[in-house]
Symmetry: C2
Subunit: 237 residues, 2 copies
């Protein structure tokens, strides 16, 4: 069974939700038969690469709240992250474009290292002091930490077209599925879970999707010309 | 929408079926929204690497027919392949283990070259004189022709454990889905097509699966802690 997870590096609930989902998955009886596929979603797709701003000011402006109120929200997020064993820096984080990170994540997917790079990017963005935005060498360091080759990562960052279509294809697929916010979890293309739900909800979703798997509907035509363990259907003329 | 195709390199109907499916896909209106994933299936998983035998003798023994009858079957396959624009060598082909080829195909998948390597392996096995069995340097050449790095391919061939689990995971998934012969096509994990059906059948299956896509069943818990284009749900304390 396959679970697809749409998320953005700039999304704190994605950081927390990944940990909660992984806790549920680790305890799921059929965990070895679950394939997890991470997919791209940009919360702020129009933001340009150089446009980096402090999170608190953005939050305050967006919600019409004081910076102190925004700070209290960040503090609460920090507590929820800590409850999942995640570090979270509640002061002085930045917000910026995540497009290049998503392109790198597609390179990582080809190398089987997508989950590792996603963890590295989350940690760098949410727990470490040095900004991950508009700093290509920082991204290269994180890619190397996730097991990628530095030159491969540099090549992708230097070519804005590299994996751009793959990022957009993920986003189009999200739109087709009705996904408007992240994290969003799709199980077997049949069940959806929105948000950083508690691990119990992911457990329930895994059980429901696992139990709800239905046999394939066969589309048939002529007698199948196929090969099986007993040999191929050999046309006799 | 995703189409998964289980196949084996030693399966002539897989070779023909891939071409027929691709013809249907090329004419399908939503082709740009179809993701094709090739998966491994060994028809003869117990065969050891060095055990290579002529196809005709195997066919004759398996079906209790004369070599002339087996040859007539191969000739018919040759005509059906030719009708799809595929070369097919009806004389003196070998049969052997395809396990190492499937391991290489998983390396190719990580590099986005699985379909290309599959085409190269099919062509080498069904249309070319030099055997693809028990000849690692031949496989390295084909991997390079499909866009892989020769050293990467050699490393995989030299390590029998490399991608072995990935091959077996594909095969276990086939068993779970009730797949006993190949080629087998699974659309959106909801529809199945067995065998090298005519392109019209694949067209019908694509249309049926596309039209049958159903909205996701939401599994919900607490209020979603999620981020959307208008910002994150900020816990206010």
């Amino acid at each position: 069974m396959r679970v697809e997870i749409w998320s953005d590096i700039a999304c704190p609930w994605c950081y927390v939700g990944k940990a909660r989902f992984e806790k549920a998955l680790a305890a799921f009886a059929h965990r070895d038969e679950i394939e997890v596929v991470h997919r791209s979603f940009e919360l702020d797709p129009d933001r340009t690469k150089g446009d980096v701003q402090p999170v608190l000011g953005l939050l305050a402006a967006k919600y019409g709240m004081s910076e102190a109120q925004a700070q209290a929200g960040e503090d609460d997020l920090g507590r929820q992250a800590a409850a999942e064993g995640l570090e979270y820096r509640t002061r002085d984080r930045d917000h910026g474009s995540t497009f290049d990170m998503h392109r790198l994540l597609h390179l990582a997917a080809e190398r089987g290292r997508r989950s590792e790079l996603l963890d590295a990017l989350y940690r760098a963005n949410f727990a470490e002091e040095r900004s991950v935005f508009a700093d290509d060498e920082r991204l290269v360091e994180l890619a190397v930490a996730a097991g990628l080759d530095a030159d491969d990562a540099r090549r992708v960052l230097a070519d804005p077209a590299a994996y751009a279509d793959a990022v957009r294809a993920d986003e189009q697929e999200a739109a087709q599925l009705g996904v408007t916010g992240v994290p969003f979890f799709v199980l077997d293309r049949a069940y959806g879970v929105s948000g950083a739900q508690p691990a119990e909800v992911f457990t329930r979703a895994l059980e429901q999707a696992w139990g709800g798997r239905s046999p394939l509907t066969r589309v048939t035509g002529t007698d199948a010309e196929a090969c099986g363990p007993d040999g191929c259907a050999v046309p006799r003329s």
